[in-house]
């Protein structure tokens, strides 16, 4: 589904990725772990199309309708419309923009791109209702302004709502579990589990083994200094938790 080959990238003339190779297939869950500053967030931002990053070498191919396309030439919003989703580590607060309005704008733009009819207020309200019930997130989040005065946990839950509404094909979740209490972590983990199907894939970027107790990854990668230095299964995450990155990688 997504194939990253020898990806090198820089931001403000600092090299952040130094040759990443990663293949993600439909139905898989990948976990990317690694020390601070290893390039984990940069990887997800580059895939999402952040304008500040420059790819200097390598390729990213993305399969759309069984055809392999070059992801790097696509615009940010085009990537999102084609099913790439990235949850933000620090979701931004936008005063004046209602959360519901934002979700509907995003949903309708993606629908329009994919050739289906946009939804009106009432229809969309019904859809949201269903999704929220499924996720078990309180509905009061919707009537507030986008992330304004949200707690850390509420912001992360809001990212999961966005994922559920947009139903992407591949989701990069950038430290979605950081700063969450046990209940919020369960909500987020449930959201990710419900999202999982044979047609989509998840890439979890995390520091902790905690979330992986709820979601069993098929692959665990250690990213260090802009490179994936080791790949293993779920056991590797436990090893990292117990021994640290240095030992686990060696």
């Amino acid at each position: 589904m997504l194939e990253i080959k020898n990806l090198h990238a820089e931001v403000n003339e600092t090299k952040v990725l130094k040759g990443i190779d990663l293949t993600v297939k439909a139905g898989e869950i990948h976990a990317i772990m690694g020390p601070n500053g290893a390039g984990k967030s940069s990887l997800s931002r580059i895939i999402a199309g952040h304008p500040l990053y420059t790819v200097t070498e390598g390729s990213v191919t993305y399969e759309i309708n069984l055809k392999k396309q070059n992801l790097l030439t696509m615009d940010t919003h085009q990537r999102a419309c084609e099913g790439i989703f990235m949850s933000f580590q620090y979701p931004l607060e936008i005063p004046g923009l209602s959360n519901k309005e934002f979700l509907r704008a995003a949903f309708n733009e993606v629908s329009k791109y994919q050739g289906s009819e946009p939804m009106d207020v009432i229809e969309f309200e019904e859809l949201l209702e269903q999704k929220m019930d499924k996720l078990g997130i309180k509905k009061s989040l919707l009537s507030r302004e986008l992330n304004v005065d949200f707690s850390g946990g509420e912001k992360k839950q809001n990212e999961i709502i966005q994922m559920a509404v947009l139903a992407p094909r591949i989701a990069f979740l950038d430290e979605t579990d950081s700063g969450l209490d046990i209940d919020a972590l369960k909500i987020v983990a449930t959201g990710i589990q419900k999202f999982k199907s044979n047609h989509n894939a998840t890439v979890l970027i995390t520091h902790y083994h905690r979330i992986l107790e709820h979601i069993k990854p098929d692959f665990v990668h250690i990213l260090k200094d802009g490179k994936i230095i080791k790949t293993g299964d779920a056991k590797l995450a436990l090893e990292i938790e117990n021994k640290g990155y240095q030992v686990a990688a060696s």
């Binding site: 999402a48 615009d75 990537r79 999102a80 989703f85 005063p95 923009l97 704008a105 733009e109 009106d120």
Partner: protein, 469 residues
């Protein structure tokens, strides 16, 4: 929204001069393309252009000659020296006959700057609303026609008013009668429906100047919602003058929307006197015309009076929008707020001058002044000049201005959810200005606008996008 902030008081003087010159040139262009002798006042002060006015409005012209053309960005405020300015009115005057009002509003239609009776809906029989154009009949009751107005307010003549009077002389070829309208709301009357003034034009006014004037007088404890909509298409310059008097306890909500055609220049002036416990709320929105200036000059004269000024300017292409608020707190225990926002796309320009003056004996004044700008266009420019001039000791006054660009991270956040850049900019702009519409809805007594079937399928931001970008 994070914005980088800079105070434009620090703008280089050359920039200001260049800006002033440009604005100057626009008016010059507006005047020159009239059917008058050119070449030209702008080089020599004694010129043909003014000869024509001089015959009709000698004193008004004198001020302009003396003080120079009203400048949008004059740095000094000494442009208002004592000068005797009495000009005679030469307009023909007709009384308004009564017509049925419609269900939504009392409507006054102005075509080419003159009141159009047959399209206006009024019920003068009910005596709730008196509309007259016969100044001589009303002169005892309404002494504040434009000509007497230039003398009042501490004998400070105003260049903008002089301009208005001077331009009257150029109105030949247009219907000059009935361009000055007097409206009075009697004591203790609250009008249930708003009064709407709709300004239109036709090809007869092509490349001409029009000068509509409205005098609005609310007697004690009267209340009114007054909406002004400007939709002229053909004129070169519209110079609107609104004169407001609020007696004790009167309440006025004044909403104006300037959505003129792309080739129109508009100078819009509102003068007001606010007496004891009166309340004035205004919201002005500029998004039409190639350049427009909204000037508000208010004198807060009665204890307990409150004035709230709100303005939104949305510029695109090469549009040029200017707001000037000049507010004099003359008595104690009066309050005012100024809240202006600009969203500037493409190469559009905006300017804000807020001048707040608190007189020596006006203790206990509480006044705030704020101007915020969102620059969307790479080449859009904003000039903000918040000013306070305070002579009293015990007052609370604040002022500030911010100018910022769209936050790149916010834009990325929206785009990473599938929203195109153009739509994302519209969404962020809408978020920036939304508070005005919420406030207005509250002031007008409709806290939650209901969703109608027609706007069910469109987002507020889509309308915003469609209308303004």
């Amino acid at each position: 929204m994070t914005t980088c902030t800079r105070f434009l008081n620090k703008t280089k003087s050359e920039e200001r001069i260049a800006y002033g010159t440009e604005q100057f040139a626009r008016f010059k262009q507006a005047i020159q393309s009239l059917n008058i002798e050119k070449d030209d006042y702008w080089k020599h002060s004694n010129v043909n252009f003014f000869n024509k006015i001089e015959k009709k409005q000698p004193k008004a012209l004198l001020t302009i000659k003396d003080k120079g053309w009203p400048r949008v960005h004059s740095r000094k405020r000494s442009d208002e020296k004592l000068t005797d300015l009495i000009a005679k009115t030469s307009e023909k005057i007709y009384p308004v006959t009564s017509v049925e009002e419609n269900n939504l509003a009392y409507t006054l239609v102005f075509n080419n700057g003159a009141l159009l009776l047959k399209d206006s809906n009024l019920s003068s029989e009910s005596m709730l609303l008196e509309v007259e154009t016969n100044e001589t009949d009303l002169s005892n009751r309404y002494p504040k026609s434009i000509h007497s107005l230039v003398k009042q307010n501490h004998n400070e003549p105003n260049l903008m008013l002089s301009l208005n009077i001077a331009l009257t002389a150029l109105q030949e070829g247009l219907t000059s009668e009935q361009h000055e309208v007097f409206i009075r709301i009697p004591k203790n009357v609250t009008l249930a429906k708003p009064l709407v003034c709709l300004f239109l034009d036709d090809s007869a006014s092509h490349e001409k100047i029009i000068i509509p004037r409205v005098h609005l007088h609310l007697e004690q404890n009267a209340a009114l919602t007054f909406l002004e909509t400007h939709k002229v298409e053909h004129v070169l310059l519209q110079n609107t003058f609104i004169n407001i008097t609020l007696e004790a306890g009167a309440k006025l909500i004044h909403v104006q929307e300037l959505e003129e055609g792309a080739n129109v220049n508009h100078i819009h002036m509102t003068h007001g006197n606010l007496y004891h416990n009166s309340s004035y709320y205004t919201f002005s929105m500029q998004h039409g015309s190639q350049s427009s200036l909204i000037e508000k000059k208010f004198f807060v004269k009665g204890e307990g009076a409150n004035a709230s000024f709100n303005g939104l300017s949305i510029g695109k292409t090469r549009q040029h929008f200017n707001n000037i608020v000049s507010l004099h707190h003359e008595t104690e225990q009066t309050t005012s707020q100024q809240n202006y926002k600009f969203v500037l796309a493409d190469r559009s320009r905006g300017a804000f001058t807020g001048h707040l003056k608190v007189f020596r004996n006006a203790q206990g004044v509480n006044a705030g002044q704020l101007c915020k700008t969102l620059l969307i266009g790479e080449k859009s420019v904003m000039y903000a000049r918040p000013q306070l001039e305070i002579f009293a000791d015990d007052v609370k006054c604040g002022h500030g201005a911010t100018i910022g660009e769209v936050n790149a991270e916010e834009l990325f956040y929206l785009m990473s959810r599938g929203i195109s850049q153009k739509q994302a900019l519209a969404i962020l702009s809408h978020a920036f200005v939304k508070e005005f519409f919420i406030n207005l809805a509250e002031v007008l007594g409709h806290p939650q606008p209901a969703i109608t079937s027609s706007d069910r399928s469109t987002l507020p931001t889509e309308n915003f996008l469609k209308n303004f970008f």
